[in-house]
């Protein structure tokens, strides 16, 4: 074995951190890149299929605006508890984190219910034509993300009430808040494509 020469001591370093300083942030970023790429390719498939149809939608009305728009409004508003929970986490404010997470869970369930109605108002079946297939696929992909993040928020909320919050849990809450931004931004793009693109193309 080679000789060792001590040149420093790291015992004074903190044992948690926020954002890019911590590992959790990088894991979250990695999965956002993967899933973001899947959305980009799914949207690419939509634009690939679009010119192959006689009209867009080819045989139906575009999705009804009511539920999709309601979802969009609520998901934008959901950023309030989300950002508050993230900020409280960074300030190590346990009470703020608990309140923010609880409200986020409530809003998440509300979104899930609205999403259920959205599927009923798409006005096209997934197996009728390629248009129906791709909009159902994009909607399902996004719904899986909503479900995953709402469930994750539930688990974090349970943890926050089960025991005293430590630095690493605060860091997790901040990462969870960052992931919700991603779920929101992808939805804004999908909302435009699923609800407004057909109308822009003059078939609404």
């Amino acid at each position: 074995m080679r000789a060792l020469r001590v040149v420093g001591d790291v015992s004074h370093l903190p044992d948690y951190g926020f954002g890019p300083a911590a590992l959790g942030w990088w894991g979250t970023l990695g999965f956002i890149l993967i899933e973001g790429m899947a959305f980009v390719l799914g949207i690419g498939a939509l634009f690939y299929l679009l010119p192959l149809q006689p009209a867009w939608p080819p045989a139906s009305r575009p999705p009804d605006l009511l539920w999709g728009t309601l979802f969009t409004v609520v998901v934008v508003l959901s950023e309030i508890p989300n950002v508050l929970a993230g900020r409280a986490a960074k300030a190590r404010d346990a009470r703020g984190v608990r309140i923010g997470l609880l409200v986020a869970v409530f809003v998440g369930f509300l979104l899930a219910v609205i999403r259920g109605f959205e599927f009923g108002a798409l006005n096209e079946r997934w197996d009728h034509n390629a248009y129906g297939s791709i909009i159902w696929a994009l909607m399902l992909m996004h719904t899986v993300h909503v479900a995953t993040d709402v469930y994750d928020t539930c688990v974090l909320a349970a943890l926050a009430f089960a025991r005293p919050l430590d630095g690493r849990r605060f860091s997790d809450v901040e990462d969870n808040a960052a992931y919700w931004h991603f779920v929101l931004v992808t939805w804004l793009v999908l909302y435009a494509l699923i609800y407004w693109l057909p109308r822009m193309l003059g078939h609404g």
């Binding site: 060792l4 590992l23 899947a38 630095g167």
Partner: protein
């Protein structure tokens, strides 16, 4: 780092005490349960490598069966249906169960050691990745034995893979094999990015980072951006088959070429995902055995990154025969030829390194030189088929089979074997036998060329791919027989390797910490390394830390009773956080089993995705629920 309260030397008593404490902290539970629960990147990396090599042997046996069938015209060994399954399984096994996993597996073992840290970034995700990979591989081989294995080729083109032409469940199992293996590969990719960017030893700036780490960083980003395409494609395919979506059905507005675009948007980067880790291995071996740093390091890094980018701009060259616009074809021809440039930069730099160094022609370097010869030939035929008129002539002939075996076996398998000879002593503590190694290399080199060189000619005289037999008198008989003889030579070489491994494990020469006098940090610890890798975390002051000093600079402080690693900044590698790593756990295995049930259920009913998600969610919750001992301060 504070420099106030430490003594520069470590007394033997202190060293023994710290070593014992770390070994206790990082140990797995004993016995079989510990084997199932382990989150040690070395144990997982080892089993990942062994499993991938088992699939390599199985894929090789499938190839031998095909070559035996093709050894003579009108052979009655098997019919067309069995042959379809054989080449589909061979390609799928080699690409999804061997080539990508084995490269990531080597990285899972080596990257944390080379970076000077104690575990991979997300150890439980790493364990999960292995189990889901194993479950996927077992599933597809069980399906194959039950006669429901894939039959539409490793790229499963629609409409051949649609319900109309591939009824039953064969293609559905193929589609879920993709899901299994891509989940596993993506998980490792995220772990490697985080490990390489956040866990490098203090002082290992990006400019001092070993080329193998650069190669794995580029590869991991490529996995992240490429693999979603094939998961999306295979999900579209299985939903077309299972719930009647119309993505690929032309009659209802779908399109068959959408499949090819999505598949090759993954499929071409895939080739480089297999090849770039090999480039990292080559740079490592060339430096050590030439006893000098790799020539033109900054250009080597830029070449890796350039290859990573360009690899995403080539996929349409697999589709020249589909009738795409001329301008598009020209663009992809240009891109395909351009990617030869960064490869050439690296090849010239390696030659310069060997030339100007003091080379020792041990087995690892022999495999690298074998790589140079074979890969250059494969690269040249690549430039040939990048040209549209020639490609239209050669498309779907044995010329293409020859080309991609030259680039894949030459470009990846030869360096991989070199890497096995190189890192085997670190992993096992014993050296592989050099004499057997040289036999292993020469038999492989000769066998490879005897097998695949004649295929260039067979393709040029018109033999198509994926035919289960051929009539006599076309001029194909002799060269097919020669190719088959070569395939058996490769098999003998592989057997020799297995024999060498078993013999060396029992009675190989003891390796010691650093048998090759290598420059990188993995050689600064014992062979095999202890569960915690490094007793004192090392500091890096140059690009070849072990070449410039006999002493290893280290830090005190992360030596307590917690599983701590150091997180450093992404560029400068300045220390920032003592990060606690998770304990061993059974939940990654349980999660992988639950997800396996979901994937297999989904082959038979879409409700499998819904109901199967419940056990997965429960298992994941237990996985992430932190134990009391993991509280931070």
């Amino acid at each position: 780092m504070s420099s106030d309260h430490y003594a520069p030397t470590i007394q033997p008593a202190e060293l023994a005490d710290v070593e014992a404490r770390l070994a206790r902290t990082w140990a797995d539970p004993p016995g079989f349960l510990g084997w199932l629960m382990t989150v040690d990147h070395k144990r997982i990396g080892r089993r990942y490598i062994v499993t991938a090599m088992v699939f390599f042997v199985l894929g090789g046996l499938l190839a031998l069966a095909m070559r035996t069938q093709l050894a003579r015209p009108e052979s009655g060994l098997m019919g067309p249906d069995r042959y379809n399954q054989l080449f589909s399984m061979h390609g799928s096994t080699m690409m999804f169960l061997f080539a990508v996993p084995v490269m990531e597996a080597v990285a899972v073992y080596i990257v944390p050691l080379m970076a000077g840290t104690r575990n991979i970034s997300f150890p439980r995700l790493n364990a999960f990745s292995y189990w889901i990979y194993l479950c996927g591989g077992v599933t597809i081989f069980v399906a194959f034995l039950l006669d429901i294995g894939p039959e539409a080729g490793w790229f499963a083109y629609v409409p051949l893979s649609s319900s109309a032409y591939s009824p039953g469940k064969r293609t559905d199992f193929w589609a879920q094999l993709i899901t299994f293996t891509e989940v596993a590969a993506l998980a490792v990719a995220v772990e490697l990015v985080a490990t390489i960017l956040k866990q490098r030893a203090p002082g290992m700036t990006l400019g001092r980072m070993p080329l193998f780490l650069w190669a794995m960083l580029v590869t991991s980003f490529m996995v992240i951006f490429a693999m979603p395409a094939v998961m999306l494609a295979s999900s579209f395919l299985i939903s077309d088959r299972l719930v009647g979506t119309q993505f690929f059905n032309v009659a209802e507005g779908g399109d068959a070429l959408l499949w090819q675009h999505l598949f090759w948007f993954f499929g071409h980067p895939e080739v480089y995902i297999i090849f770039i880790p090999a480039l990292g291995m080559i740079s490592t071996i060339v430096a050590t055995f030439s006893r000098r740093p790799v020539f033109a390091y900054p250009y080597m890094v830029l070449a890796l990154i350039a290859t990573g980018f360009l690899a995403f701009g080539l996929w349409v060259h697999h589709m020249f025969a589909t009738g795409l616009p001329h301008l598009g074809n020209s663009f992809y021809t240009a891109a395909s030829i351009t990617i030869a440039l960064p490869s050439a930069v690296q090849i010239f730099a390696w030659i310069a390194t060997i030339w100007s160094g003091r080379p020792r022609f041990a087995t690892p370097l022999l495999f690298v030189i074998g790589f140079l010869a074979i890969f250059v030939l494969g690269g040249l035929t690549g430039v040939m088929v990048a040209s549209v008129p020639l490609d239209l002539q050669l498309h779907d002939t044995y010329f293409v089979v020859a080309h991609f075996h030259y680039v894949l076996i030459g470009g990846a398998v030869f360096p991989l074997f070199g890497a096995f000879y190189y890192w085997f002593p670190k992993i096992t503590g014993r050296l592989l036998d050099e004499t057997l190694g040289k036999w292993n290399f020469w038999l492989f080199f000769v066998g490879f060329n005897v097998t695949f060189f004649p295929m260039h000619y067979l393709g040029l005289i018109g033999m198509p791919r994926r035919v289960y037999t051929y009539p006599p008198g076309l001029g194909w008989d002799l060269w097919n027989l020669v190719a088959t003889i070569g395939a058996y030579l490769i098999a003998i070489s592989a057997l020799l390797f297995v024999f060498n491994v078993i013999r060396s494990l029992r009675s190989g020469a003891r390796a010691g910490d650093d048998p090759w006098q290598a420059p990188d940090l993995e050689w600064a610890t014992s062979s095999p390394p202890p569960p915690h890798n490094f007793t004192y975390l090392p500091i890096v002051q140059s690009a070849e830390p072990l070449w410039h000093s006999d002493e290893i600079p280290v830090v005190r402080g992360a030596t307590g009773d917690k599983r701590e690693v150091l997180l450093t900044s992404a560029v400068e590698a300045a220390p920032g956080i003592r990060w606690q790593m998770p304990e061993p756990s059974l939940w990654p295995l349980v999660s992988a089993l639950a997800l396996t049930v979901l994937f297999i259920w989904s082959v038979f009913s879409p409700w499998g995705v819904v109901w199967g998600a419940i056990p997965v969610a429960i298992a994941l919750t237990f996985w992430f629920w932190p134990s009391k001992s993991e509280q931070s301060e």
